[in-house]
């Protein structure tokens, strides 16, 4: 009986959503639409751009931004369903293959940097810094069911339970963190609170003295009063806090990473798509800082504009993720001087 009620509610909900979607489509047909989907990490930036762009166009153009994750976004993008794909890592080999099989070529545009932040509760007074090795001890698959207290990671720390909070398995953040810390993408212990919703993780760490978690810098910055970021010992042996400055000078490594948008080069023929993408590059330095991400140097956006004009397709990453990339190194890869 209860299942039936639920089913009815579900059917009603589906019917309602479908009709609403239908109505929206009818409205949408009257004005041009730019379709964006992909990473939830990149979402705040693209959403800010879309809002401002629609305002300047006085509502003549509509920009829709979805969040189905970097992988999910590429699935739709390479199927020709979207014009732009948000990505918190470069396009991977199998995704390049999928795009090629549908004859979809794309322009890769790095738009900002993110600093993955490792955070603890503000009243945690024992962790002063963390090394990659210590993070690995906590997060590697071998730790599953074994590493349960803080002093197992470092004997100087108290014998308190270690409560871990981290990204869910479908996010680009999870892919990047595991690759940078454990050494292999998607390789992680499983007995922690995993959520695709970063607000859940913020709530968990902010209310638990014994907690440690990781997520994008934007969410740390927005909740800086309730959380404490931990300095990470970088490749040069220095403990560095995540910030705009340390990302720009490359000292916050290996947890800083570039984020991208990919534009379908066929869609770029449509004036509204081209205008939006160009707007994105021109406004980067201004609109990105309020979102909590780190904008690229002005010359990078100029180079992006040049690539859009020349329709330079393809990726400079060769279908692989690069860990610990600094802004300087990215500029070199993109051959921007």
């Amino acid at each position: 009986m209860r299942t039936t009620t639920k089913f009815f509610a579900l059917t009603a909900a589906v019917a309602l959503t479908a009709s609403v979607a239908g109505v929206r489509q009818v409205i949408a047909q009257t004005r041009p639409v730019v379709k964006v989907d992909g990473s939830s990490t990149v979402f705040p930036i693209t959403e800010a751009m879309a809002e401002q762009f629609q305002k300047e166009k006085k509502g003549q153009v509509q920009v829709t931004v979805g969040i189905s994750g970097t992988g999910g976004g590429f699935k739709k993008f390479c199927n020709g369903e979207t014009d732009i794909s948000n990505a918190s890592r470069p396009i991977l080999k199998r995704e390049m293959e999928a795009c090629r099989s549908k004859n979809i070529s794309y322009i890769e545009l790095p738009v900002a940097f993110d600093a993955l932040s490792v955070v603890v509760n503000p009243r945690n007074n024992w962790v002063k810094q963390l090394t990659v090795a210590e993070l690995k001890t906590m997060w590697e698959p071998a730790a599953q069911g074994k590493i349960k207290t803080w002093n197992q990671v470092n004997p100087a720390w108290p014998n308190r339970p270690l409560k871990l909070f981290g990204a869910g398995t479908d996010s680009g953040t999870f892919d990047y963190f595991t690759e940078a810390i454990v050494g292999k993408a998607k390789s992680s212990r499983g007995d922690y609170t995993a959520s695709e919703d970063d607000n859940v993780l913020v709530q968990g760490v902010a209310t638990d003295v014994n907690a440690l978690g990781y997520f994008g810098y934007a969410y740390y910055e927005a909740n800086a009063k309730r959380l404490k970021a931990v300095p990470i010992v970088n490749a040069q042996g220095k403990a560095v806090l995540p910030s705009r400055k340390t990302v720009e000078d490359g000292s916050y490594n290996p947890l800083s990473r570039p984020i991208f948008i990919y534009v379908n080069s066929e869609s770029l023929r449509r004036p509204e798509v081209r205008e939006f993408v160009e707007f994105y590059q021109r406004q980067g330095s201004k609109l990105i800082p309020p979102t909590g991400y780190i904008p690229l140097p002005a010359r990078a956006y100029a180079a992006n504009l040049d690539n859009i004009r020349r329709r330079k397709t393809g990726t400079v990453f060769g279908g692989e993720n690069k860990v610990g990339l600094t802004i300087d190194q990215l500029m070199k890869m993109e051959r921007i001087n």
Partner: protein, 317 residues
Amino acid sequence: MAVQSTRGFAAYEAQRLRSKWMDRIMRVLTGAFAYFSIIVTVGITLILIYETYHFFNELAEQGISWTQIFTETEWTPLFEVPKFGVVVIVVGTLMTTIIAMVVALPIGLLSAIFLSEYAPPKLRAVLKPTLEILAGVPTVVYGFFALLVITPILQKMIPGGDAVVAGLNALSAGFVMGIMIIPLVASLSEDAIYAVPNLLREGSYALGATKFETIVNVVLPSALSGIISAFILAVSRAVGETMIVALAAGQSPILNFNPLDSVMTITAFIVQVSLGDTPTGTLPFFTIFFGGFLLFVMTLILNVLADWFVRRYRLMY
């Protein structure tokens, strides 16, 4: 005259035929809708069984012994070292359910007794609908209530503060779930108590019993089957509740018997997997159906139990 009466008879015949057809149409129509829900229930059950079969198939294909479902004490189906110790999420589910029942059953039953035995009719007319409003609050609101109101209060009240009480914990989620279920328990048991014929009460008074003695010795035993089935329905409501536990109980897949710590329930696991884009046909995908199957079996057992109880203890009057 004769012609007229024939015509009258014909009209009467036509009318009768129409009514007959109307009757048949109504019968088929209402029947179709009644069967619809049965078909849906059967369909859902078959799909659950089918996908659960695939789950075990997939387990075998990946060389994972199905016995580990019962022997393992870790639950990490999405990760590199997949473990399927279902005891982790079953314990989580039972813990939040038991906490909810500790809150909902006594409060619900006592309110029901007050409403039907003590409250004057005017008060009852106000109280009962008010209580039922509680049932109309969306569960997502209850979830945030647990997370943002009850948990901080618990952290202040319980000695040790947040070193002892985790920010996401089973107690807070279970407590709020209990509040949500109160109207269900109260309303259903009140119906059962209210239905006890006054003859029984009057008989008890005539024998010199007080009101309290009448309630305890006559009214409650007479309404027992209804009350028990209300309880069991409440339990299956708690077992299947999703939003509150997903928001406030922590989604932490670690075997844990401490209600002040985070737990993951079966429903919270299903939510976690469905939020991401798990590819169809993979082991994690089938795992959510296995979770659904577990829930289904748990509520089915409870419903059968309720049914048996009602049959066994129903008093005929």
